[in-house]
């Protein structure tokens, strides 16, 4: 495929290839993830964005072995952590990589912690299991981790139960728990969605600081483009179970290569009071994943849809270094197609995007 960044000498930290996950339901088979590929290196932040139901969470939960199978089913694909397979298993060399190599935090911290166990115990548990530490040593470390997560009076707080914490504190405790064993990768599945805005910033800051100190790779799942702009190095835009565009954060914001990305961008509310601004939704709704369309999944909602879009699924077209868009407009037989995508931004937003047209040409050098 178009991804060619993976070095021959050393395998990437995490590499996922052509992941396909289906769910058998009474109504039929839902093709939730339809061929997702990405890779991530240490210290990087990869944001996976897309609307609800596009397969973001299923993708990472499959990697973590959290999708119950059945009803879930792994149709195809590979996933390797430093070259070792992790798909369909939870152990590498007899040890569970979850919690030790890959930590994960979830959307709703209020329900993601055991209500009848103290916060300290829940953090310490990870250390006991993966490091084989004593109960006492693990608890002492748990207090340190809570301090690191900027929980005031950590020693007392460690003895408390989740219901005695606020939402933001719980999410920070979750982070402390996820990083207890210093994993190489932290997966954050919509970590700030359930929190209010000021708390969001604290949680994101904490994640960034930890990444800087430890070189942790972060896979950030979100539908908040503001969070993406703040956190991400790389962005993968998902739609209907596929990655439709992948590129650096600048690529995604300034040189989008897929009409869906443009649509997401335009749907973002602006806080520019001078601009007369209406929210621009993406009309229509995502396709039925019981029977996904033969052609491009976005064609039905795409303002630039052509005849070919309904009959043939586009391949990912490379539009720059490490940047691809899965859209027929990049085909050589559509002259000026790429410009059409980009110029749509200028029309759609209030003009706070600089040099829309020339950006793409710059990439073509």
């Amino acid at each position: 495929m178009t991804q060619n960044g993976s070095g021959e000498t050393q395998p990437p930290l995490l590499e996922v290839n052509d992941l396909k996950v289906e769910f058998d339901t009474y109504g039929g088979t839902v093709q939730a993830v339809r061929g997702v590929s990405f890779s991530i290196e240490g210290g990087q932040t990869l944001a996976i964005v897309g609307e609800s139901g596009c397969g973001k969470s299923v993708t990472v939960q499959t990697l973590m072995g959290l999708v119950p199978m059945p009803p879930g089913r792994l149709k195809s694909g590979t996933a390797t952590l430093r070259g070792e397979n992790i798909l369909g298993q939870t152990q590498i060399g007899g040890k569970d990589f979850r919690g030790s190599e890959i930590g994960m935090i979830f959307q709703d911290p209020m329900t993601s912690l055991n209500p009848t166990m103290t916060i300290g115990r829940q953090i310490a548990e990870t250390l006991e299991v993966h490091r084989g530490w004593s109960r006492k040593k693990s608890l002492a470390r748990a207090v340190e981790l809570l301090e690191m997560a900027r929980i005031p009076e950590a020693a007392q707080r460690a003895k408390q139960y989740p219901f005695e914490f606020s939402g933001g504190m719980l999410q920070r405790a979750m982070i402390a728990m996820a990083i207890a064993c210093e994993p190489a990768i932290l997966i954050a599945d919509e970590p700030t969605t359930a929190l209010d805005v000021t708390i969001q910033a604290q949680v994101l800051d904490l994640m960034q600081d930890l990444q800087r100190d430890r070189g942790t790779a972060i896979i950030l799942i979100t539908h908040d483009l503001g969070v993406v702009a703040r956190m991400a190095d790389e962005v993968a835009v998902m739609y209907a179970g596929q990655i439709v565009e992948r590129g650096s954060v600048d690529d995604i914001f300034y040189r989008p290569a897929h009409p869906y990305t443009v649509g997401l961008r335009a749907a973002m509310p602006s806080n520019n009071p001078a601009a007369e601004h209406r929210l621009l939704p993406i009309e229509g709704s995502p396709p039925d994943l019981f029977s996904p369309p033969v052609g491009c999944a976005y064609a039905a909602r795409c303002p630039h849809a052509m005849r070919v879009c309904n009959t043939h699924d586009p391949a990912p077209f490379a539009v720059g270094k490490g940047h691809f868009g899965k859209c027929w407009l990049h085909h050589e037989r559509v002259p000026g197609g790429a410009q059409r995508i980009v110029s749509a931004i200028a029309g759609a937003t209030t003009g706070d995007v600089v040099q829309p047209a020339s950006a793409n040409q710059g990439d073509a050098r």
Binding site: M64, G65, L66, T90, D96, F97, R98, G99, S100, G103, M104, F106, D108, T111, S112, L113, N114, P115, T116, M117, E125, T126, V129, H130, Y161, F163, E164, M174, M177, A178
Partner: protein
């Protein structure tokens, strides 16, 4: 926590007073009295006896005397059994009923938790189907049917073996407790199994179990540390009423297995309109149950930290 316990205790005493009053009124509303038995007695003897037991006094006065005695822990003398205080009857026979009841509750609690967890783990597979079928039987078939059936089975086994493996009835040794307590606890166990199953299923798909999985904990650890304690909460809630059900159910089971427990005296007393024994045992059972419910509620606070503070 202590304040809460005291508050509950005071409310409990009021409940017991209510039970005592209701029983008193109900009893006197029933036609006949302890003296109108098989033996016909002359008007004179009757009058003397009524005077002796204070039955000739107006009902309001009787009530006050009764309450006063009750407050002093005096439950009175039996009308029909010679020279037996109700306190003695309770002291002698309640430990037997209590042993039976506690064994039944333990049996129901452990069995319910275990089978419930099992059905949830093997959801929609054959262990689930088999156990849930048994649960429906356990809930719908009354305990005296099970009692009779179990006796029949014991007899069959004993004759087949040629020696007495288990006693059919009676009281005295550990082997005497086994079958009656199982029969007594069966209905409650079935109910607890069903409750545990739904509670487990709910928790298996909960967010914090997903978190526990994402931490890389072994399944057994997740089960013991995270699932059981949370799943057991609804069971503890119904344990109070469950104890009530078991104790009242014990009347029948005691009768079938010829166990000299308190239940038998209670039933006998009702038939003979032995006022003091009815009153005494009812109030005693009532107080016992109220205490059990309070204890269960305190236990609940111990298991669920969220209740502790509120």
């Amino acid at each position: 926590m202590l304040l809460y316990a005291i508050k509950r205790l005071i409310l409990g005493i009021i409940t017991v007073w209510f039970i005592a009053t209701a029983t008193f009124l109900a009893m006197h509303a029933v036609p006949g009295d302890p003296l109108s038995g098989d033996k016909a007695m002359t008007a004179q003897i009757r009058q003397n006896l009524e005077k002796k037991y204070g039955l000739d006094k107006p009902i309001g006065e009787q009530y006050l005397i009764y309450l006063n005695n009750l407050a002093h822990g005096d439950l009175g003398i039996s009308y029909t059994q010679k020279n037996r205080e109700v306190n003695d009857i309770i002291r002698e026979n309640f430990p037997i009923s209590a042993t039976l009841g506690i064994m039944a509750v333990v049996f129901a609690g452990i069995g319910g938790t275990l089978f419930g967890a099992l059905t949830a783990l093997y959801r929609n597979k054959w262990p689930d189907t088999v156990i849930m079928l048994a649960v429906i039987l356990g809930i719908s078939v009354p305990s005296f049917v099970f009692a009779a059936f179990s006796q029949l089975i014991i007899v069959k086994i004993n004759t087949a073996l040629g020696f007495s493996l288990l006693p059919v009835a009676g009281w005295g040794t550990v082997s005497h407790i086994l079958v009656p307590s199982m029969v007594l606890g069966l209905g409650t166990m079935a109910y607890l199994t069903r409750l545990m199953r739904s509670s487990m299923l709910e928790i298996v798909s909960s967010d914090y179990i997903r978190t526990a999985n994402a931490k890389g904990l072994a399944q057994t650890r997740i089960f013991t540390q995270h699932q059981i304690r949370n799943a057991i909460l609804p069971l503890v809630t119904v344990l109070g009423p469950a104890i009530a059900a078991i104790t009242t159910g014990s009347f029948v089971v005691e009768l079938v297995f010829a166990i000299p427990g308190l239940g038998r005296y209670f039933v006998q007393a009702v038939q003979q309109l032995d006022y003091t024994v009815i009153m005494g045992t009812t109030v005693f059972f009532g107080a016992f149950l109220v205490l059990m419910v309070i204890l269960v509620d305190l236990l609940y606070g111990f298991i669920d930290p969220r209740v502790r503070l509120n």
